[in-house]
Symmetry: C2
Subunit: 141 residues, 2 copies
Amino acid sequence: MRRKLRETANETATMRLRHAGLRPTRQRNELAKLLFRNGHRHLTAEMLHAEAVSEGVKVSLATVYNTLHQFTQAGLLLQVVVDPTRSYFDTNTADHQHFYCEDESSLIDIPGPDIAVAGLPTPPPGTQIKRVDVVVHVRRH
Amino acid sequence: MRRKLRETANETATMRLRHAGLRPTRQRNELAKLLFRNGHRHLTAEMLHAEAVSEGVKVSLATVYNTLHQFTQAGLLLQVVVDPTRSYFDTNTADHQHFYCEDESSLIDIPGPDIAVAGLPTPPPGTQIKRVDVVVHVRRH
DNA sequence: TCAACAGTTTAGAATTATTCTAAATTGCAG
DNA sequence: CTGCAATTTAGAATAATTCTAAACTGTTGA
Ligand SMILES: [Mn+2]
Ligand SMILES: [Mn+2]
Ligand SMILES: [Zn+2]
Ligand SMILES: [Zn+2]
């Protein structure tokens, strides 16, 4: 009950990884700590890599890409497609939607229950609905 | 009243371009004819370029990219972002949404009035809503 | 009719995000 | 500890897209 916060964060990250079936390596632990230490975030591989480097975490960009995809497959992250030039990853895996401001390339969450899509037609034959994504594009005025 | 269909198509394309404020060049005319000759389509620059080449239309890939963006700015096309690896252009500029089947990279229109998004929260301060995109991801089962 | 020039096209180089390769390193089961 | 599969990584490769700068063309006004 007197362990340092750092150790606790480490154990939390390790547990999260084990629970997701991922081997808790040094790099995955560090990246998980950066990703999940505070509220929800939307970030690109480059952004996370820059953050890691600036905080003294040694990890290659290739590993950041690998890790983001592994976390996504494991359900720890969600990939968001709104900008044709880059891929965002979202630490909020709950059902929710987004405002996207192209001017500043920023994503803002819209809580899932707030928004409702009605009148969905039957999906094409032989397919079933997997997810409904709503992106509300906004512009600075 | 006895002109060939080809001539009529040419005039239609030319008029469409003039009306959009674009100089009707040979390449723009040919691409407009390919794009708008039949029902609505969703296609990438590479796809349109391949189609042009296969039908004997001489145009460079760079021009296809330029033209697709110019047509989009002019309101003749809509850009659709669903796949992080490529950009689709949509000849349907009416208000509508999409089914996206990742397995086969195919987009299918959902007529605008069919679908309704309710409960949109107030957009972030200083911004106004520009467009609401709904993508229904489906999977082969 | 046509010269002039802005707008357009284009080949090829460049850029950018992302993925791949193959060799070195590391976590962990035994 | 050891052995080995899983992981990491530097750097090369790939793929979509954009840029550059030189050649070409549509339009216009004399
Ligand atoms: Mn892209
Ligand atoms: Mn890309
Ligand atoms: Zn989000
Ligand atoms: Zn469409």
